[in-house]
């Protein structure tokens, strides 16, 4: 199923894009697996997503842990820890 990926801050810069539509295989069930799958696509994505400890995620605009399921997700965002305020 197609997922709209969004990237913010240095994730966006390192990915070289702010958004993309991806269609991972059905074996990709969690956010962490989605990150692994994206990182394995090409060297640039692999480098951009290498620092897993500093990656955070939202599924359909709700902050989630990396082991959260993505079944039925329409939008997944990846970004660094937030620094607003």
């Amino acid at each position: 199923m197609a997922i709209e990926m969004l990237y913010f801050a240095w994730v966006r810069e390192r990915m070289g894009r702010a958004a993309e539509t991806v269609t991972p295989p059905s074996t990709v069930a969690t956010v962490a697996q989605l990150v692994d799958w994206l990182a394995a696509r090409d060297a640039d994505s692999g480098t951009a997503l290498a620092d897993r400890a500093r990656l955070r995620a939202a599924v359909d605009q709700a902050f989630v842990a990396m082991d959260a399921p993505i079944a039925g997700a329409r939008e997944v965002a990846l970004f660094p820890p937030v620094t607003g305020g």
């Binding site: 709700a62 970004f79 937030v82 305020g85």
Partner: protein
């Protein structure tokens, strides 16, 4: 009365305060304003956010504070885009019948905003541009409001 604004324009505190002061039962108003500090080498600051999700996260925080402290008003205004030293990044205001509720709710909102709302700061310091790192103290400050603490 909840008001959430995420906007690139400078924050006009006057108009925001007038709204909060007009809330029913407002006897106590607490505010917090975050500024781009002018004295530690920061040239410009740029705020990126997650459109839609940011406003939703701030609205959830304002709703939680309103329920927990019976607020008459909760306002969160957050600037995005580029800004200069001395300018306002964020403004939070709460209105309640008594001061303890207004002050605690205001602290809650800015503590939780720091960890729960998708904003990212990029600053230019001494000519170099870099993304600001999250601070552990922000996680600690936000954590003390959880589980009914």
């Amino acid at each position: 009365m909840i008001r959430v604004v995420v906007h690139p324009a400078p924050i006009a505190i006057d108009a925001e305060l007038a709204r909060v002061e007009a809330a029913p039962g407002a006897g106590a108003i607490a505010t917090f304003t975050g500024l781009v500090r002018a004295d530690d080498g920061v040239g410009t600051l740029e705020l990126e956010h997650y459109p839609g999700a940011t406003e939703a996260a701030l609205t959830r925080l304002a709703e939680a504070a309103t329920a927990r402290w019976s607020l008459g008003a909760a306002t969160i205004v957050h600037r995005v885009g580029p800004m200069a030293p001395g300018e306002r990044i964020v403004f939070v205001a709460t209105a309640a019948p008594h001061r303890a509720a207004a002050l605690e709710a205001c602290t809650f909102l800015i503590d939780r905003l720091k960890t729960d709302a998708p904003f990212w700061k990029r600053e230019t310091r001494d000519g170099e541009s870099r993304w600001v790192e999250a601070r552990d103290t922000d996680d600690a400050a936000a954590a003390r409001w959880r589980d009914g603490a």
